[in-house]
C-alpha cells in the first residue's frame, strides 16, 4: 500500500501541496484528480522521489520511502506527464538502457523489450530514433519503460496523452489487469470518463488540499450526483465555464 501522511510542499513560500493524506491500496486503481495547478504533478514527483518532501511522510508498504529510496525505486514504475525522452536514441536503445540501469538480466530484459515493442506496435520502428516518433509512440515507450521491471507500484501521470483509440483501449485494460494482479496503481488524469471506468477509488485535489477521498460509488451516493464529472465540477471547479467561454469569445470579437 502507498500512503501519504500530511504531505506538504511549498515553492517560494506558496503552498503547492497542503497537508495531503490518502492511501492507494494494492489490487485497485486509485484515481488522482484535480484541476491544473492543484498540486497533482507535484505530489506525483514527491512520490517518485524526483523532488524532496516539504513535510509529512510517504510510506510504501508501511516504510517511509526516504529510508531506503534505492529499494523503493527498484519497485516503482513511473509514466511522467510530459513525454521527455532522449530522442537521439532509438526505442530499443532507450529500453535497453533503462533495463541496464535497473540491473535486469540481459536475456530476460531483451525478451521483455522485444515483446513490449511488438505488443505496443513499435517493433517495426524500434531502430528509428525517438525524434522521429509521434507523441503516441513516445507515450508507448514511456509506458514500456515504466513496466519493464515488473514494478509493484505504478504511477501514471496522464498516460493516455497522445494515444490513439486502439492503444488507449489496450492501456486501459492493461491498467486494470495490473491492478488485478496485486499492483498498487496511482493514476492521474483529466479524462474523467476514463477515470470513472477504471478507478475504484478517487482522490480529488483542489488548491493543494484533498477535497474528496473515497470510492466513486460512495461519492455518487453521498453527493447525489450521477457522474464523476459532476462530482468533480462541484468540488474542484470554481468557475462558470459557460460564462468564461462567452467572455473569451466577446474579448476576441472586441
Amino acid at each position: 500500500m502507498l500512503e501519504l501522511r500530511n504531505v506538504s510542499k511549498r515553492f517560494l513560500g506558496i503552498p503547492a501541496v497542503d497537508n495531503v493524506s490518502f492511501s492507494a491500496r494494492a489490487g485497485e486503481v486509485t484515481g488522482y484528480l484535480g484541476p491544473n495547478g492543484s498540486g497533482k504533478s507535484t505530489t506525483m514527483k514527491m512520490i517518485t522521489g524526483l523532488i524532496g518532501l516539504g513535510c509529512g511522510e510517504i510510506l510504501f508498504e508501511g516504510k517511509p520511502i526516504q529510508r531506503d529510496l534505492i529499494a523503493y525505486k527498484q519497485r516503482m514504475g513511473y509514466v511522467p506527464e510530459e513525454p521527455h525522452l532522449y530522442t537521439h536514441l532509438s526505442a530499443n536503445e532507450y529500453l535497453v538502457m533503462v533495463s541496464e540501469l535497473r540491473n535486469l538480466a540481459a536475456q530476460e530484459a531483451g525478451e521483455r523489450i522485444d515483446g513490449m515493442l511488438r505488443l505496443f506496435a513499435l517493433h517495426d520502428d524500434r531502430h528509428a530514433p525517438i525524434s522521429a516518433y509521434s507523441k503516441g509512440m513516445r507515450q508507448k515507450v514511456l509506458v514500456a519503460a515504466a513496466l519493464l521491471h515488473n514494478p509493484d507500484l505504478i504511477l501514471l501521470d496522464e498516460p493516455f496523452s497522445g494515444l490513439d483509440v486502439g492503444s488507449a483501449l489496450v492501456l486501459r485494460s492493461l491498467i486494470q489487469e495490473l491492478a488485478a494482479r496485486g499492483k498498487v496503481v496511482l493514476f492521474s488524469s483529466h479524462e474523467l470518463e476514463t477515470v470513472e471506468r477504471i478507478c475504484s477509488h478517487v482522490v480529488i485535489l483542489h488548491r493543494g488540499k484533498v477535497v474528496a477521498d473515497d470510492s466513486i460509488e460512495r461519492l455518487r451516493t453521498l453527493m447525489a450526483l450521477p457522474t464523476l464529472e459532476e462530482i468533480f465540477s462541484q468540488l474542484a471547479v470554481e468557475q462558470d465555464s459557460v460564462a468564461i467561454s462567452r467572455q473569451i469569445a466577446d474579448l476576441i470579437h472586441a
Binding site: 517518485t48 522521489g49 524526483l50 529510496l69 534505492i70 525505486k73 527498484q74 516503482m76 513511473y78 511522467p80 510530459e82 521527455h84 525522452l85 532522449y86 530522442t87 537521439h88 536514441l89 532509438s90 536503445e93 535497453v96 538502457m97 533503462v98 533495463s99 541496464e100 540501469l101 535497473r102 540491473n103 535486469l104 540481459a106 531502430h127 528509428a128 530514433p129 525524434s131 522521429a132 519503460a145
Partner: protein, 575 residues
C-alpha cells in the same frame, strides 16, 4: 497596418531572441547566467589581444620592418582562425532548428525575416568577437605599422587599413566556411547532410588550427618575392590579407619590388572575398528556403544500424548503460561533437606544431621524428592525451535533453559510488584508450619496440592520472546535468595552458633521458605509478563520500547562513 513596419518589428524581436541564443539556453542551469558566459568569452579574446600587445610594451615600440610584417601577419592570421572557429561553432545556429520552425512557422513570420534575424544575430556576435580580439592590438599596433615619417594622416590611414583588413579577413573566412556548409546542404539529402555536416565541422576545425600553427613564416621581402614561394602564397589566405593591408596602408607602394609582391596578394584577397561573399550568399538563398521545409518534414537523425548491438566489455550493466549512452550522445549530438572537435582540433594542432620541427631539418638528434625517440613526439602524445581527456570531461558536463534526465533519477537504484566508477571507466574507454591506441600504432611503427613500449607505459599512466584528476568531484552522469556557466575560470585555464606547454616539453625531455637509461626509466615509472595510485585513491575516496548524483548545477552561495534561530539554537540540518 503596413507590411514593412511589421516585418521590421518582427525582425527586432527575433534578432534579440537569437542574439541571446548564440549559446544554447536549454543546456543552462536554472541559475545559469548567459551574459556572464558571453562576457567570459569576450574577456578571453580581449586577454589574447592584450597578450599580443605585450611585446610592444617590452621593446618600447622600436621594431625592425620585418618584425612588424610578422606581427601584421600574426594578427591577421589570429583573427582569421578565431573567426573560422566561430563560423564552425555557429554553422548550426544560423539555420533555424526544428524548434524554431515549429514555434515560428504557425505565426505570420516570413521565412526571410527569420533568416535575416538569424544572420543578423550571428554577424553581430561575429563582429563583437573580432572587436574583442583586436581591442588592444587594433588600437596600438596600427600606429607602428604606418609608414615612417607619414605623420598623423598615415597613422589614421593605418588604423583604418587595419580594421578594414581584419573585418575583411574575418568576412572571408566566415563566408567561406558557411558557403561550403550551405552548398553541402543544397547538394545532399538532409539526413546525409546532417551526418556529413558533423565531419565537415571537425575537418574545418582541424584545418583552421593546422594552417594557423603550420603555415610557414614568409614575412620577409626575400620570401615574399621568391618565385618558388608564389604558389604557396597563393594558397595561404592570411598572406593575401597581409598584402591587402600593405596596399591599403600604403606600405607596398614605398618599394616597387614589394609592390609587385603585395599587389597580387591584395588582388587575390579582394577576389577571394568577393567569391566567398557572393558564393555563400547564393548558397544561402538556395538552401535556406528549401531547408526550412525539410527541417519539419524529416527527422534530424538517421536510424541506427539494425544489426549493431555491440556493447563495450565493461564490468556490469550500469557501466555498459552509461558508456553506451555517452558514446551514442557524442556520436549523434552535433552540438557535443562540435565542442569536442574544438578540443580535438587543439590537440591535433599541438601535435602538428610539435611535429613541424621533427619533420623538418634539425640539428639535435632527439628532435627528429625518425630518431630512436623524438622529444616533440613524446610531448605531442602527452599533450594530446591531456587535451582529449579534458575536452571529453568538459563535453560530459554539457547536457543533452535536460528534461529527459528524469529517467536517470527514477532508475537511480544503486549507490552513487557505483555510478561514479562507471563514469570514470567511460571516460577512460572513450577518451584515454583511443588516444593511447592511436599513438601505440604510430610509435610501434616508427620507433624500436623498447622505446615505444616504454613510452606507452608512461602514456597510459599519464592517461589514468589525467582521467582521475578530471573526474574528481564530478558527480554527474555524462550529458545529464544542467550547465552552470562561469564555474570554471576560463582566463585561469587559458593561462595555465600557456604555462603547461613548455612544462610538458621539459617533462618530455626528462622522459627522453629516462628512456635511454633503464634505472632512470624505472624511477620515472615508479613515480608515475605512485601518482596514478594517489589520483585513483583520491577519486575513489571522493566517490565513496558521494551521497547522490548531481542533476542540477547550482551556484555556490555567496553568503554563508548560520541558520541560527532567535533563541540561538542551531537548525537540525546545520547542527
Amino acid at each position: 497596418m503596413r507590411e514593412e513596419p511589421i516585418e521590421r518589428l518582427q525582425f527586432g524581436v527575433l534578432y534579440r531572441a537569437f542574439l541571446l541564443r548564440v549559446v544554447d539556453l536549454e543546456i543552462l542551469s536554472a541559475q545559469g547566467d548567459v551574459v556572464k558566459l558571453l562576457g567570459q568569452f569576450a574577456s578571453l579574446l580581449a586577454a589574447i589581444s592584450f597578450f599580443f600587445t605585450v611585446p610592444l610594451i617590452l621593446v618600447g615600440g622600436r621594431l625592425p620592418q620585418e618584425t612588424l610584417w610578422t606581427m601584421e601577419h600574426v594578427l591577421i592570421a589570429t583573427t582569421m582562425v578565431v573567426v573560422g572557429l566561430f563560423s564552425v561553432l555557429s554553422w548550426d545556429s544560423i539555420f533555424p532548428d526544428r524548434r524554431d520552425v515549429l514555434v515560428l512557422a504557425p505565426l505570420p513570420v516570413r521565412a526571410r525575416t527569420l533568416f535575416l534575424a538569424k544572420l543578423g544575430a550571428s554577424l553581430t556576435a561575429l563582429s563583437v568577437s573580432v572587436l574583442a580580439l583586436n581591442i588592444f592590438t587594433g588600437l596600438v599596433w596600427p600606429f607602428l605599422f604606418s609608414p615612417a615619417n607619414g605623420g598623423g594622416f598615415a597613422a589614421i590611414r593605418s588604423l583604418a587599413a587595419y580594421w578594414v583588413t581584419v573585418f575583411a579577413a574575418g568576412a572571408f573566412i566566415f563566408c567561406s566556411g558557411l558557403g561550403v556548409h550551405w552548398l553541402a546542404a543544397q547538394l545532399l539529402p538532409r539526413q546525409q547532410f546532417l551526418r556529413l555536416s558533423a565531419f565537415l565541422q571537425v575537418a574545418a576545425v582541424c584545418l583552421f588550427l593546422s594552417v594557423y600553427f603550420l603555415e610557414p613564416s614568409l614575412e620577409t621581402p626575400a620570401a615574399l618575392t621568391a618565385p618558388q614561394n608564389q604558389q604557396l602564397l597563393a594558397w595561404l589566405p592570411s598572406y593575401w590579407f597581409l598584402g591587402l593591408f600593405q596596399e591599403l596602408n600604403g606600405g607596398g607602394s614605398s618599394s616597387v619590388s614589394m609592390d609587385s609582391a603585395f599587389v597580387p596578394l591584395a588582388m587575390r584577397a579582394c577576389t577571394g572575398l568577393a567569391i566567398a561573399v557572393l558564393g555563400s550568399g547564393a548558397a544561402i538563398m538556395l538552401s535556406y528556403f528549401r531547408t526550412l521545409r525539410k527541417i519539419v518534414e524529416e527527422p534530424d537523425i538517421l536510424p541506427g544500424s539494425r544489426r549493431m548491438n555491440w556493447s563495450p566489455p565493461l564490468a556490469n550493466s550500469l557501466q555498459s548503460a552509461i558508456a553506451l549512452f555517452s558514446v551514442r550522445t557524442l556520436l549523434r549530438s552535433r552540438h557535443h561533437r562540435v565542442i569536442f572537435s574544438f578540443y580535438l582540433g587543439i590537440g591535433f594542432a599541438i601535435v602538428l606544431a610539435y611535429m613541424k620541427p621533427a619533420l623538418g631539418p634539425h640539428s639535435s638528434p632527439h628532435v627528429a621524428a625518425t630518431a630512436p625517440v623524438s622529444v616533440p613526439l613524446l610531448t605531442a602524445s602527452i599533450l594530446m592525451m591531456c587535451v582529449v581527456v579534458t575536452g571529453m570531461r568538459i563535453v560530459f558536463s554539457m547536457p543533452i535533453a535536460l528534461r529527459a534526465n528524469w529517467i536517470f533519477r527514477i532508475t537511480e537504484t544503486r549507490k552513487a559510488p557505483e555510478y561514479l566508477t562507471a563514469i570514470r571507466r567511460t571516460l577512460l574507454w572513450i577518451s584515454c584508450f583511443p588516444v593511447w591506441a592511436v599513438f601505440a600504432m604510430l610509435f610501434l611503427a616508427i620507433w624500436p619496440l623498447r622505446f615505444a613500449a616504454g613510452h606507452l607505459v608512461i602514456l597510459g599512466l599519464l592517461g589514468i592520472i589525467f582521467t582521475d584528476l578530471s573526474v574528481h568531484g564530478f558527480q554527474k552522469i555524462p550529458f545529464t546535468c544542467s550547465y552552470l556557466p562561469g564555474k570554471g575560470n576560463i582566463q585561469l585555464v587559458f593561462w595555465a595552458c600557456v604555462v603547461l606547454l613548455p612544462l610538458t616539453y621539459a617533462a618530455a625531455r626528462l622522459e627522453w633521458q629516462a628512456l635511454q637509461n633503464l634505472s632512470r626509466y624505472v624511477f620515472v615509472v615508479v613515480i608515475l605509478s605512485i601518482a596514478a595510485g594517489w589520483a585513483r585513491w583520491r577519486t575513489a575516496a571522493s566517490a565513496r563520500s558521494a551521497k547522490a548524483l548531481n542533476f542540477d548545477e547550482v551556484p555556490p552561495v555567496d553568503i554563508l547562513a548560520l541558520g541560527l534561530r532567535t533563541d540561538g539554537e542551531m537548525l537540525p540540518e546545520q547542527s
